[in-house]
């Protein structure tokens, strides 16, 4: 039982990342009708926003310490960060420690700006082109973006830690009446799950309870009618692209302490996220979220030794297997609408 609970927690955590990326993908597809294969790259850039802010906060000056030597035997250079120098070791150290949460604020304008530039500069020219063209150009853009990141940050993963207070793990089992150490779960993964829930809830609330959101939803349902009413729906959709980019970026920022960011991490999530969108139903926001969590949990269960001993390799194909089954039984996905991508 404890193993099952652990895998459910793992699945919800993985599902959080899938759901956040798939939510952004669906927002873009639902509003602009674009299949954005560069969305994984936006997730990766978000993670590198955390890396960048961490590096900015760790900017330092060097002084020579005659009592220490470097690897060549020369007097060693000792680094002192400007933040600690200006604000004192306690305050400065605390700010550096909280680099990842602070990167949330840093990443939002960065990601929205990147989203705007992507949409206005490239993607808008492909609105009326076939989906295959959109896939090719956005996939090419994803490769360009990851090569740019690799050029500046290198190919190796870059460790980016969570604040000290969230390091370590929480004994979940004791709360549920199990033996101590039976169900241990890292604090930061719980934070990630809660964060994802807040962002998903925020996006739904924004679309549901604001006038802007209402117009966007109306535009998603019937673009031409909304335009006939004199509303500039294109402008709103461009803003939605920026919001979708920010959602992917935030997912990446908070993911940085879970796995050290590397230039390729967007591609690792992209394909799975597309499967999530398709399983959820193209254009369906609740479908994307539901499918994200569902496939995350199933993937975790498929990694259990008990299941792998019966079906070796199932952990590598489970998501695709479930996608095939769902699409055979429900061709529009779990919550897909009629007419979407069926013309």
């Amino acid at each position: 039982m404890d193993a099952i609970i652990l895998q459910i927690l793992n699945g919800l955590d993985k599902g959080s990342a899938y759901a956040l990326i798939a939510l952004g993908l669906t927002l873009i597809f639902g509003t602009l009708g674009v299949v954005n294969f560069a969305h994984g790259a936006l997730f990766m850039i978000g993670a590198f926003c955390a890396v960048t802010l961490s590096r900015i906060l760790n900017l330092s000056y060097e002084t020579i310490d005659p009592n220490k030597t470097d690897f060549l035997g020369n007097p060693a250079k000792v680094k002192t960060t400007y933040v600690e120098d200006w604000l004192g070791p306690d305050m400065g150290g605390a700010i550096i420690d909280w680099a990842v949460p602070l990167a949330i604020l840093f990443s939002i304008p960065v990601m929205v700006a990147i989203g705007f530039v992507m949409e206005r500069g490239l993607i808008k020219h492909f609105y009326k082109r076939p989906h295959a063209d959109q896939i090719l150009v956005t996939f090419g853009l994803a490769i360009v973006l990851q090569e740019i990141i690799k050029y500046f940050y290198g190919a190796n993963p870059i460790p980016t830690g969570a604040p000290d207070v969230f390091r370590g793990s929480f004994d979940f089992g004791v709360m549920l009446g199990f033996d101590p150490n039976a169900i241990i779960y890292p604090y930061w993964r719980l934070v990630y799950f809660a964060f994802a829930a807040v962002i998903i809830g925020g996006v739904f609330a924004f679309l549901q309870f604001t006038t802007f959101g209402m117009v966007v939803r109306a535009g998603m349902a019937d673009r031409e009618t909304v335009q006939l009413l004199g509303i500039n729906i294109d402008k709103r959709f461009t803003i939605m692209f920026g919001i979708a980019a920010a959602v992917a970026g935030l997912a990446g920022v908070m993911y940085a302490p879970i796995n050290s960011p590397n230039y390729h991490m967007g591609m690792d999530f992209l394909v799975l996220s597309f499967v999530v969108v398709v399983v959820g139903g193209m254009g369906s926001l609740p479908g994307a979220v539901l499918a994200g969590f569902l496939l995350g949990v199933l993937e975790s269960f498929a990694s259990m030794n008990e299941i792998k001993s019966i079906l070796p390799g199932i952990d590598q194909i489970i998501i695709y297997l479930v996608a095939i089954i769902i699409l055979l039984t429900r061709p529009r996905g779990l919550m897909g609408r009629k007419g979407v991508m069926e013309e």
């Binding site: 652990l6 690799k150 241990i184 390729h264």
Partner: protein, 448 residues
């Protein structure tokens, strides 16, 4: 009326003899011009450095390339000479290789077997490379070694740790300086026993490809010989990024040691995940839970950050060694590039020097002569103590380092500390050892 004696049969015979006569000098000329593949004829010789310049191991590839450039500089008489000054063989004079200036071309393996073979093929066929070296993956090493065997050039492997490279996939034209998975197990086992005792239960997570399999086999064998029990061995997909669902079952498996047979990004992520799940603070069977990473790389350890602290593994070489050769190499490399070399850089530098030295001693670039010079060659002064290039499998036998993630690093390079230098004798095995069975060196191929 004159009568001609010319017959059809006579004409054919005469033509054949005349043709053979005309062709004879050409045949001999062609034969002598291409006694072996890419025989150097001018004042220079071209080496092919096949390293990952893109893909997940690009940083390691960049360090390999730095080492190759340094080796070429030293071979051509530039710089301070580095380990040429400490190398026990004094055949190299800093005048290139046999008086021919060393030039090089580079290829990008992308850490993909197909791409690595294609770039090696291009360097051999288009650029005239006489020797191919480099790489950061056993899959790539095995593939390129096979290609070099067919093409008739020497392959001096870079970073490849699978037993198979000099085991079932060994080739007469291929040579490995780097250590292997068996040696990691043999070096680590006594240290693990002294640290953690003989009554331990180990759980293995293993990258699902040739290197992972052979490392798991080696570590299982060496730890079970200590009396450890192997609770489970789980293969993880090479493409996996989040290992949480593989780590979770470890918690309640009864295991008190987790062995991560992972390298590169896999190692960084699985170790990070294991530490996040509190395994290092856990107590099982009345003992502290321990994590072991059998193959360490400083470049990769950097990606795992503080998570490497206190975790044991093995490595081929480390820049903090204090023997004259290591110090000479670190000085040479450090002054040129501003940071210490990695183990990948070290093995690549050594391989280049070893090849050049073998050519010089053999007095020929012919791969068969070079191979003969390398086989059974005993040397010292390249940073690993006394070393033997064994003739039977073309594997180097030398000391192996057991290292530990440093608790209080003094710089960004100071991540590992050497716990023990395991003598070569302790990691040496018979050529017909079952873990290396199933392949034959075959005959050397000079190509052409």
């Amino acid at each position: 009326m004159s009568k001609s004696n010319l017959t059809r049969r006579g004409l054919i015979k005469t033509s054949a003899i005349a043709g053979a006569g005309v062709a004879l000098p050409t045949i001999f000329t062609a034969s002598s011009a291409a006694a072996f593949t890419n025989e150097p004829t001018g004042g220079s010789v071209t080496l092919g450095f096949n390293v990952p310049q893109t893909g997940p191991y690009a940083d390691e590839g960049a360090d390999e390339l730095r080492a190759y450039e340094l080796a070429v500089e030293h071979l051509n008489g530039g710089g301070d000479g580095g380990m040429m000054n400490t190398f026990s063989s004094k055949a190299l004079q800093g005048n290139g290789i046999m008086g021919k200036k060393v030039e090089y071309v580079t290829g990008d393996t992308q850490t993909k077997s197909d791409a690595a073979r294609a770039s090696a093929k291009s360097m051999i066929e288009k650029d005239g490379a006489i020797m191919i070296t480099g790489g950061s993956s056993s899959g790539v090493a095995v593939a390129v070694q096979g290609l070099c065997q067919e093409a008739g050039v020497i392959f001096m492997a870079g970073l490849t740790h699978s037993n198979d490279t000099t085991g079932k996939d060994k080739k007469a034209n291929g040579f490995r300086h780097f250590f292997n998975a068996y040696m990691s197990g043999a070096a680590l086992a006594p240290v693990l026993q002294s640290l953690y005792g003989s009554d331990r239960k180990a759980y293995h997570l293993t990258a699902d490809y040739t290197w992972g399999w052979t490392q798991e086999e080696s570590i299982v064998a060496s730890t079970e010989a200590l009396g450890w029990e192997t609770v489970n061995t789980v293969k993880t997909p090479l493409a996996a990024t989040d290992f949480s669902s593989y780590i979770a079952p470890v918690l309640n498996s009864g295991a008190d040691v987790l062995v991560l047979n992972h390298y590169g990004g896999n190692m960084v992520n699985s170790l990070t995940n294991a530490v996040q799940f509190g395994l290092r603070e856990k107590e099982v069977n009345g003992k502290n839970f321990e994590i072991v990473v059998p193959l360490y790389s400083r470049l990769m350890a950097r990606g795992a950050g503080e998570n490497v602290k206190g975790i044991h593994g093995s490595t081929n070489w480390h820049w903090s060694l204090t023997d004259d050769a290591s110090k000479a190499f670190v000085k040479s490399f450090g002054e040129k590039y501003g940071f210490p070399p990695s183990q990948a850089a070290h093995t690549c530098y050594c391989q280049t020097l070893l090849y050049a030295d073998a050519v010089t001693r053999a007095g020929s670039f012919n791969p068969c002569a070079v191979g003969e010079a390398l086989e059974g060659f005993e040397f010292d002064g390249l940073g690993n103590g006394k070393t033997l290039y064994r003739a039977e499998d073309h594997q180097c036998f030398k000391d192996v380092l057991v290292v530990r993630g440093k608790e209080n690093p003094t710089s960004e390079f100071d991540l590992l500390e050497v716990v023990e230098v395991t003598p070569a004798a302790q990691v040496t095995y018979e050529p017909d050892h079952p873990m290396f069975a199933g392949g034959e060196l075959g005959a050397c191929n000079p190509g052409a």
